[in-house]
Symmetry: C2
Subunit: 338 residues, 2 copies
Amino acid sequence: MTRSRELHLVARPTGLPGPEVYHMAERDLPRPVQGEILVQIRWLSLDPYMRGRMNDAKSYVEPFRLNAPLDGGVIAEVMESHDPGFEAGDLVLAHGPWAEYAVLKAAGAQKLPRGSRVPPQAWLSVLGMPGMTAWTGLNRIAEAKAGETILVSSAAGAVGSLAAQLAREKGLRVIGVAGGADKCAQAVAEFGCDLCLDHRGKEARELSKEIAEAAPHGVDIYFENVGGTTLQAVLPRMNTFGRIALCGAIAWYNDPASAPPASHIWMPIIQKRLRVEGFIVSDHAAHRGAFFDEVLPLVEAGKILWHETVANGLEAAPEAFAGLLQGKNTGKQLVRIS
Amino acid sequence: MTRSRELHLVARPTGLPGPEVYHMAERDLPRPVQGEILVQIRWLSLDPYMRGRMNDAKSYVEPFRLNAPLDGGVIAEVMESHDPGFEAGDLVLAHGPWAEYAVLKAAGAQKLPRGSRVPPQAWLSVLGMPGMTAWTGLNRIAEAKAGETILVSSAAGAVGSLAAQLAREKGLRVIGVAGGADKCAQAVAEFGCDLCLDHRGKEARELSKEIAEAAPHGVDIYFENVGGTTLQAVLPRMNTFGRIALCGAIAWYNDPASAPPASHIWMPIIQKRLRVEGFIVSDHAAHRGAFFDEVLPLVEAGKILWHETVANGLEAAPEAFAGLLQGKNTGKQLVRIS
């Protein structure tokens, strides 16, 4: 019998989710049956989309249930396998609970290659959902081409830092936007940005002026992760027939009413004949092969850098998640469980 | 020497443009020189995009100048030709001033076919900019396919009534939205809508419920002319991977701040993976041949209906334009000058 601590969602937050919406529970796991594996969870992935799942609203993923563990991408080690595809000691990428141990369906787990120089948690970031998201937005949504100018918001974030580097590899001019001087310096030094603008404490008008100086020929592609001031600032700088790859809008997740009037974004889309396309990485799973073909060699060759912000222990997850929503992380936000 | 009355813009309006922003002037026209034609203007086209030109803001067309005549599409009769391509009595489609007479460059005028059963002002509506706009939005932007469900706003308007009929001809299920019971009845009886919903006096939630009933399989394409309540109402009913052909947002032209928070439209675009594309008909001029090939035979065969709301005399243009912005017209708003 395996005893496991689990982090439950016990209330639906308004605004920023505080510690009061979580409860640390403990229980004995059921024994795994045929087709299942018992795993010890090593790493949790924290991602902005999880904020939407805390609301009781239907979206592209089901809301988290109350009084049950939250869940998401995990890296785990197989302790006990009841499936021919896995053996004890295998590391897997899976969808699992915020817990120390779990019994998972083997069919949903993906075995990581043994002996790779890439650390296992990279399969939650550069080689996982954020990497695939960056690649998809850039290639399949925005149809980026060498010589174009791209503006990437959250340029030091998990997705943005990879979108910026992949864009640079493709031969685009890359302008980052990030919150704070440190993140901006990092976006330029490590994450492929030609330059990076700090949005902190700025009105849209001021940031827009800086974008105009940074992009004298205008912006062809906006890789949108944030909404908020950055969106307002970039719209007047978009070139006619520009594209917006609409990946997220983290600035509005906690407080949708803080957004400017919709007309402020709708009118420029007409006037500049922009193409705006929302996308969810899971729709593009059929193209994971093309993603790996392009990105895995770059990672193994050390041509793509990624950062991790690591919180230690299951009990650290709530604060780390609130920090992620406030932009306190650099790169991928992870929780190391064991 | 030809003396002509002209309607000048003398102030930039806030909100709905009233009579105080216009001034009726009168002057002697210069004599036409080589390459020019002197015309008597018969019909003015009034179009919603002209409201944007009244503001002093750069957009895809230049703002109207102050203390100069407004301008737009006109049908005119050639009085005197100094160009081998035209002779007195020719009817032309051109860009001209809100005036009784004008001297125009011959190169910018298009001679209308003589002896056609189609009345000349139809070249300002079904065979002109509104018709080409409807065709472009449907075919080149939304890529409409038989069997899909389209929602057309302003379904009794100049563009909407043609988009609805062309969609029906293509085999789509067509749901109209219009303001008032009369327009809705007309949209169904004459303009190709399977049914039409009245948005007047309704909250977005109520209209959204009616759309859900009208489109039990969801909405694949939204032909967006209005913004406002209709946009808010249709977004929750859009199918995953739906398309929005973004042609205009008349509800917000006079009062952009009346729009809901931008997050209310940005988030569903992500969640439903919508493709939103703004378009301006003039970008698609190269496809006018394809438009005529498809639409002229339908018009000549009486398969496409269009309505006109006609104001009489240059002095009637200001009130007619305000009425257009308030949705008082049915179909194309014209001013008959002579």
